[in-house]
């Protein structure tokens, strides 16, 4: 197993180091880092905007770039939290608690330096975990029939809907809505048109970018316009030298970094508990085991180190279920999976064997991308700090145009731009009603495969639903679903208070 991992990695580097792929990887992490810093811009909307651009690209380059945006944004998001106390990036909201007090004490540079260190260690661990676990998980999943796939998807969707932010009931409702939206268009089994209401443009189904840019682009702009206040950053002056932590800082930060890394990698394996939850757990644990919990919230370096490390290791680990099983854990992964499907690549356990370029190339690009990010951040910190002051009122009109042209370019169809507007308005209504739109995307991407596998399994069993319980692996997955629901009911009945006070994320 170690040997295949090593050989695969060598192959991956030969793919990722091709100038063409390297360039797109650089572009991805650069854009990611930038949107991480820009207040009011999210990863989801950026990936959606750039998604149509990748249709004409080679799938490997497309995936490297889109993933780069995701982990690149984590580097930028920390800057935002530590220097401005702005939780504009959900996984880094908890970093504000101790990062900003450090800035006020004039130690913001040290906090950022520790963040870089935590990022590199966390990411490296996450990548190694992926190298060894993903092929292994995929091999187990080779033997899965439609029943197992169906139950596993159900588990993934349920976890994604209930464990992430917000009310579990609403999460499930949104997932169902997402699956429903994915059914729009021609039914592949019978040729019937479903939910097209006579619109010719809908017979191929809704475009992924239409849904995601409506929900995460336009709806977000509707929510954030006039709500994002410009921030003065004139007081923050940082140079290359300020980032260097002292020896005692390092000694203090290293154990929390390692603990955070482990928490992040564990969280990443459970769908639905991505980097955001990992960072909160890591922070809460550091505070609990600390001998001086009173320092937390007043600039404790552990409170920066642990959540940042866990975020980065969870971000990399997030790719494991996505790449090995084809089951995305959150909306970003759903988008990446959707991007692969647009290129005609079937996600699932066979991906690693059939598309070694994609899997190993992606892993190699993680190493390269994280390295690039460190070099982008350490010397250029001053430039990123300046970007923090770009006012939102310039950003959103520009982004609006990119949404329009992006959706249009996906298949040269103006109808889609109008549909995006409808989704935007609808998404805004959902936000106002307290729904989280992210599970919609999960349902939307997994929906067609869920229906197909459900139909196939019931067809194989000649109409008996007990087939899902008769097969042991499938039964285990369904059992886990039941456990998950019971646990949710139990926690809902017991406590109402969240364990730590979270600075309300301004936009996410």
């Amino acid at each position: 197993m170690i040997e295949t991992g090593f050989l695969g990695l060598v192959h991956g580097f030969s793919v990722a180091l091709e100038p063409h792929n390297l360039m797109w990887c650089f572009f991805g992490v650069f854009v990611g880092n930038m949107v991480g810093v820009l207040p009011g811009m999210g990863v989801l909307s950026t990936i959606s905007i750039l998604l149509p651009l990748t249709f004409s690209m080679h799938p490997v380059a497309a995936l490297l770039m889109l993933s780069g945006i995701y982990y690149g944004a984590q580097y930028g998001g920390a800057i935002c939290s530590i220097l401005l106390n702005l939780p504009c990036h959900p996984p880094h909201a908890v970093t504000c608690l101790d990062g900003f007090p450090m800035t006020k004490q004039g130690r913001g540079g040290v906090a950022l330096g520790i963040t870089m260190l935590a990022a590199v260690i966390g990411a490296a661990f996450g990548i190694v975990q992926m190298i060894f676990m993903a092929p292994y998980i995929a091999r187990i999943a080779f033997s899965f029939g439609p029943q197992e796939i169906c139950s596993l998807m159900l588990l993934g969707l349920l976890a994604g809907a209930t464990l992430a932010k917000g009310s579990p009931i609403k999460g499930i409702a949104m997932t169902l809505l997402g699956i429903l939206l994915s059914l729009v268009g021609t039914d592949v089994n019978t040729g019937n048109e479903r939910f097209t209401f006579g619109q010719l443009e809908l017979s191929d189904g809704l475009e992924l970018v239409t849904v995601s840019l409506g929900l995460f682009g336009i709806a977000e702009f509707l929510k954030s316009v006039n709500a994002v206040k410009p921030e003065g950053t004139t007081s923050v002056r940082l140079g290359f030298r300020d980032l260097r932590p002292s020896r005692s800082d390092l000694r203090q930060a290293l154990p929390p970094v390692l603990r955070g890394t482990v928490i992040g990698s564990l969280c990443s394996l459970i769908p639905g508990t991505g980097p955001t939850i990992a960072s909160f757990i890591a922070y809460a644990m550091e505070k609990k085991i600390s001998k001086t919990p009173g320092r937390f919230g007043h600039g404790a370096i552990e409170g920066v180190a642990a959540p940042e490390a866990s975020t980065h290791s969870a971000v990399q680990g997030d790719f494991i279920p996505t790449m090995s099983l084809g089951i995305p854990g959150d909306a970003v992964m759903a988008l990446l999976l959707g991007a692969l499907m647009i290129h005609g690549i079937q996600p699932g356990p066979r991906l690693i064997v059939e598309q070694p370029d994609i899997f190993w190339g992606l892993i190699a690009s993680f190493w390269i991308g994280n390295l690039i990010l460190v070099f982008l951040n350490v010397p250029m910190i001053g430039i990123w700090v300046k970007l923090l002051s770009v006012p939102y009122r310039y950003l959103y009109p520009t982004a609006l145009f990119f949404v329009c042209i992006g959706v249009f370019a996906a298949r040269n169809e103006m109808f889609d731009v109008g549909a995006t507007l409808v989704f935007g308005a609808f998404g805004y209504l959902l936000l106002q009603l307290g729904f989280e739109p992210a599970p919609i995307l999960l349902g939307f991407v997994l929906g067609p495969r869920l229906e197909e596998n459900f139909r196939r399994s019931v067809l194989l069993s000649r109409g008996s639903l007990s087939t899902f319980i008769d097969r042991p692996i499938s039964a285990v997955f369904l059992g886990l679903c039941v456990l998950l629901i019971l646990a949710q009911v139990y926690t809902a009945a017991r406590s109402k208070k969240p364990p730590i006070k979270i600075p309300e994320a301004a936009f996410d």
Binding site: L53, S167, I169, K170, I172, A173, L176, L177, I179, L180, L183, D187, N189, T190, N192, R194, F195, I218, F221, L222, K223, V225, N226, A227, R393, Y394, Y396, P397, T398, L400, F401, V403, C404, I405, F408, A409, N412, M414, V417, G418, T420, L421, G424, A425, Y428, L429, Q432, L433, G434, F435, E451, F454, R455, V458, L459, R462, G463, S464, L465, E504
Partner: protein, 151 residues
């Protein structure tokens, strides 16, 4: 606490149940079939039933406490954003990329009170130039720049 906030969970449940109901109504017309021979409507009806269940639970639950993150809508901003996208849809094919881009950004930028007219126009012009260079010449998006004048 406004009336909307007090009943927010009820509205949310109602909306979900209504969507579920329409899915069942529409799905039933595609043919539900049976487990042995599933019609196109089987899955939609199943989903619709699930949504009605979730909606019912939400509507019956105690309403959440105040201050749950909902802000009053900003009508000026919302109107500008909706108009900006609508203008792009209307203008892009009829008038071309340049006027559509300019109108989209210009009108969108007017959504905030701080942005003055000249500022919005400047932003619109900058993005338009950028759009022409990047999308028309760079990525070859199929649009005339200005219909009938400049391809």
């Amino acid at each position: 606490m406004t009336r909307f906030e007090r009943h927010r969970e009820h509205f949310a449940g109602l909306l979900v149940a209504a969507i579920g109901g329409s899915a069942i109504y529409e799905g039933a017309q595609y043919g539900i079939g049976s487990l042995t021979e599933m019609g196109s409507g089987f899955f939609p009806v199943m989903l619709g039933a699930g949504m009605i269940l979730m909606g019912a639970i939400m509507a019956l639950m105690r309403p959440a406490g105040p201050g749950h993150g909902t802000q009053a809508p900003n009508w000026r901003g919302a109107a500008a954003i909706v108009a900006a996208v609508a203008l792009f849809v209307v203008l892009a094919n009829r008038a071309g990329l340049a006027p559509a881009t300019f109108a989209c950004v210009f009108v969108g930028a007017l959504g905030t009170r701080e942005t003055r007219l000249a500022e919005a126009a400047m932003l619109g012009a900058v993005v338009t130039v950028f759009a022409i260079v990047l999308f028309r010449y760079g990525l070859q998006v199929q649009f005339p720049i200005l219909r009938g004048v400049l391809q």
